[in-house]
Structure formats: structure tokens, C-alpha cells
């Protein structure tokens, strides 16, 4: 059986390269893979394209990545939160590119990539600024735009429990984008609080099967729902 467990943080993120497109888990303060992000920052990587719902909060996580100059482009849904001041400063200075995508479209573009499809049609954003440059189609009298898959080199996500095959379960609303991102990347790296033995995860409740997981790093027990800080 392939060993998916990385013993060190450095080892876990060793495959992330300059210029990579990286799907980054996280919705607000939940499910942000802060250990993996710190690992990427410590490597001083450059020119990353980051896909994330938010544009970083405070000065940790994605905000640290942005502040340290790792990120050339951000693809996200909600960049202008009050605590995304690090992103705003670099954006205003013209130092980071931004692509805004509606949240459901962002999720479905990743799912489509993971499912090996060539795109999908959605009514979301029809007639809006965000439909500019996109192919329009009318089917059964309804207007749609064509959205293309969003595939990435890497996904960095956070989960609650893992077994040695890489099967994952998440916790409460900290699931959100993570299972989709795991599907949509060539290489998926997970930070996870707890490792259990094979057979200890109920197969009926595994959310992400290990086929979508390449590496995982155990962050160790921490207060549930508290994150790294």
C-alpha cells in the first residue's frame, strides 16, 4: 500500500512548485489548512495562482501567503471582507491579479474538472458583468452561459480524520469546498487532526475516499473547532 502519510510538514508540501495553481480549502475561519499554508510560505514559493472562497483573513493563513508575495493571482468569490486588508493592500498596489467567480459556479467548475467533464451550462451570472466573454446558449427557452472546468496542480485542504488509505471525514460546516477540491487537483495534500486505523472509519460516512488523496500530514490533537491559533 502506498504510504500517504508525510512525517514532516516540509515533506507534505515538497511537491508544490513555483507557478502552480493551488486550490486552497477554507470558508471564513473554518477548514483553512493553516499548517500546510505555513509550510508553503516557509518554502518561499512564488507566482502561485490560488483558488479560495475568501481573500485571507487577518495576517495568517492565505493572508500570510499573500503578504509574503507567494501569490500572483487569486480566484475567489468574496474578496472584500473587512479582515482581508492584506489582499486589498496588494490589489490596490497592482501587485496581485483577481478573478471573481460566483460561489456555486466556482464549486461546480472544480467538480466538473474532477469528474472529467468539459464544462457545464448555468443560468448563474447570465446578463451580468461576470458573463462577459463567455459563450451563451439557450436551451428549452432558458438562457445559460458555458462555464469551463477549473483543474489545478495542487489542493491543500483540512479534514478531521484520516485512515492510512487517505479516506477522509470532515467536521460540521468545515466540509464546504474541501471534498470538491480534493477531486479537482492532480495532487491533493490534507492536514488532518487525527489518524485512525484502517477499518475505523465507517465506510457509510466517509466523505472523501482515499483515491482523491495523495498525502496527509497529522497536525495532532487540538481543541476541536479551534484551528491552529
Amino acid at each position: 500500500m502506498k504510504k500517504k502519510r508525510a512525517e514532516t510538514l516540509e515533506d507534505a508540501v515538497a511537491n508544490v512548485e513555483d507557478g502552480a495553481t493551488v486550490l486552497l480549502g477554507g470558508f471564513g475561519g473554518t477548514s483553512v489548512p493553516e499548517f500546510l499554508i505555513d509550510g508553503v510560505c516557509d518554502r518561499g514559493l512564488r507566482e502561485l495562482t490560488i483558488v479560495s472562497n475568501n481573500a485571507g483573513n487577518g495576517r495568517t493563513g492565505l493572508a500570510r501567503m499573500i503578504e509574503e508575495g507567494c501569490v500572483a493571482k487569486l480566484i475567489c468569490t468574496f474578496p472584500w471582507a473587512k479582515d482581508s486588508f492584506v489582499f486589498k493592500e496588494l490589489y490596490d498596489a497592482g501587485k496581485i491579479e483577481l478573478e471573481i467567480v460566483p460561489q456555486g459556479t466556482l464549486a461546480e467548475r472544480m467538480r466538473t474538472a474532477g469528474a472529467g467533464l468539459g464544462g457545464f451550462l448555468t443560468q448563474t451570472a447570465v446578463g451580468t458583468d461576470l458573463a462577459e466573454g463567455k459563450q451563451a446558449l439557450t436551451i428549452d427557452g432558458k438562457d445559460y452561459i458555458l462555464e469551463l472546468p477549473l483543474r489545478a496542480d495542487m489542493a491543500l485542504i483540512k479534514a478531521y480524520k484520516v485512515d492510512p488509505r487517505g479516506n477522509l471525514v470532515y467536521r460540521k460546516s468545515a466540509r464546504n469546498f474541501s471534498p470538491i477540491m480534493a477531486m479537482a487537483a492532480d495532487h491533493t495534500i490534507v492536514e488532518v487532526a487525527e489518524e485512525v486505523a484502517i477499518g475505523d472509519l465507517d465506510p457509510e460516512v466517509i466523505i472523501t475516499p482515499g483515491v482523491f488523496v495523495d498525502r496527509y500530514f497529522i497536525t495532532g490533537p487540538y481543541d476541536l473547532g479551534r484551528g491552529k491559533r
Partner: protein, 229 residues
């Protein structure tokens, strides 16, 4: 105009009173998505015993009120990033399933804020005209998918300009989707025949509301909003 608003201010509904108006119209067994801001006040005004379920686009079906002190869990947040709970019988889903619920027509209602609403139901709530970029979040997906879109907002801008207009001048979120508008002055239905003034705040007249509205209102059957003393 602003002088007129000042004169009327004692008669304007509070945010809580607007939320109560919406809550009265949410029906048993509906699944409802609440936007950020004023809509989050609505659950506390749902009449006891009426089973209305709330959807949060970050993957919660059956979102409950904020947690009691000591029960906070950072892994359980709303789309607005506030701490919440899950009601008994609630469920967590991933982001694509959450937006399948929205676009797939399973939301009986979405209650969203707005910068501007046009007489044809065009919703503008994601970007101001003078901004180069906005935070779209899930607004476009939810607005096109929900069976009904209720808007809560102040009736006019702070400068006294109408926010309900004959034709939109702001960037579009979704075309022709708004079905009802709840403001601090009135409740207005959007119909194929135009805007229908259903009810007005106590102390105001239909003429007061029309003067603050940028499109014709049919006030043939107008009633008065009943507010708690």
C-alpha cells in the same frame, strides 16, 4: 428628498420590524436561504411552532440560532461567518450539493439585501457602479435558483434616492428574479403587471411611499403593516 425622509423617520420601520414582516410570510416546511445583514434577524421572528428550515450556502441544511455561551464551535459558522448551531434533523453537505439545492430549485425562498431593485424584478446587490470589483459570494447562484427572492433594504439611499427604480442603473446580480420587497416604508410585490403596494408602515400614506419610489406603484388594495407595540 432628504428633508422629507427626516420628517418621516419616526414612521420608518426598524430592521427588526422589517425582519418580522418577512418572517410572517415564510411558510411551514419552506427551506429558506438568508443573506448577510438584515436577513439574519429573521429566524427570531418566526412564529413558534412553524417549521421553517434555513439553508446556509456553506453546507448547512437546518441552520439554527447562535450557540449558547460555552457551546461555540468554530467549525460551525454561517455564510456570513457568524457562529451558529444545527437544528435536530439538520444535515451538512459539501459546496456543490449546497448549490445544487439553490440552482436546482429546492430553495422555497431566498431573502437577500439589495442596492437596487427594478420594477421587472432585476436584482442589483453585488457591486456598486463606482467600484471596479465586488464580493459576489453565492448571491448570483441563489438568486437565479430560488423559487422566490425576497429583498430587504432601506427604501431609499442615505441621500434619499430611490432604490426601487423603473430600470436598473447598477450592475446586475440576476435578472427578473425579485418577487417581493420589504423596506422600512412598505411591502411591495413584483408582478408581471408591475409593482403592487401591499402594505405600508403605520403613519405613512401611499403617496409618501410613491414619492420615495422610482417606479409606479399600484396601491389599489394597500393595507397597513401591523407592528408590535
Amino acid at each position: 428628498m432628504s428633508a422629507q425622509i427626516n420628517r418621516l423617520t419616526p414612521h420608518l420601520l426598524t430592521r427588526g420590524q422589517i425582519a418580522a414582516c418577512v418572517a410572517a410570510d415564510l411558510e411551514e416546511d419552506w427551506l429558506v436561504n438568508l443573506g448577510i445583514g438584515m436577513p439574519t434577524l429573521i429566524p427570531e421572528y418566526i412564529p413558534p411552532g412553524r417549521d421553517v428550515m434555513f439553508h446556509s450556502e456553506n453546507g448547512i441544511i437546518g441552520m439554527g440560532p447562535p450557540p449558547a455561551p460555552g457551546e461555540e464551535d468554530q467549525d460551525l459558522i454561517s455564510a456570513g461567518k457568524g457562529l451558529v448551531t444545527l437544528i435536530p434533523g439538520g444535515a451538512y453537505v459539501n459546496h456543490t450539493d449546497s448549490f445544487a439545492i439553490a440552482r436546482g430549485g429546492r430553495l422555497d425562498c431566498a431573502v437577500l439585501g439589495a442596492f437596487q431593485v427594478a420594477a421587472n424584478g432585476d436584482l442589483c446587490n453585488w457591486r456598486l457602479p463606482n467600484q471596479t470589483s465586488g464580493s459576489v459570494g453565492g448571491a448570483m447562484d441563489i438568486a437565479v435558483g430560488a423559487k422566490r427572492v425576497f429583498v430587504t433594504m432601506s427604501h431609499t439611499t442615505r441621500e434619499g434616492d430611490a432604490k426601487i427604480v423603473a430600470e436598473r442603473t447598477y450592475p446586475l446580480t440576476a435578472g427578473g428574479v425579485v418577487t417581493k420587497i420589504y423596506t422600512d416604508m412598505a411591502v411591495i410585490a413584483v408582478t408581471p403587471d408591475g409593482l403592487v403596494l401591499e402594505a405600508i408602515a403605520p403613519g405613512l400614506t401611499a403617496d409618501d411611499v410613491q414619492a420615495a419610489t422610482g417606479a409606479p406603484l399600484d396601491s389599489a388594495n394597500v393595507g397597513t403593516i401591523s407592528v408590535a407595540a
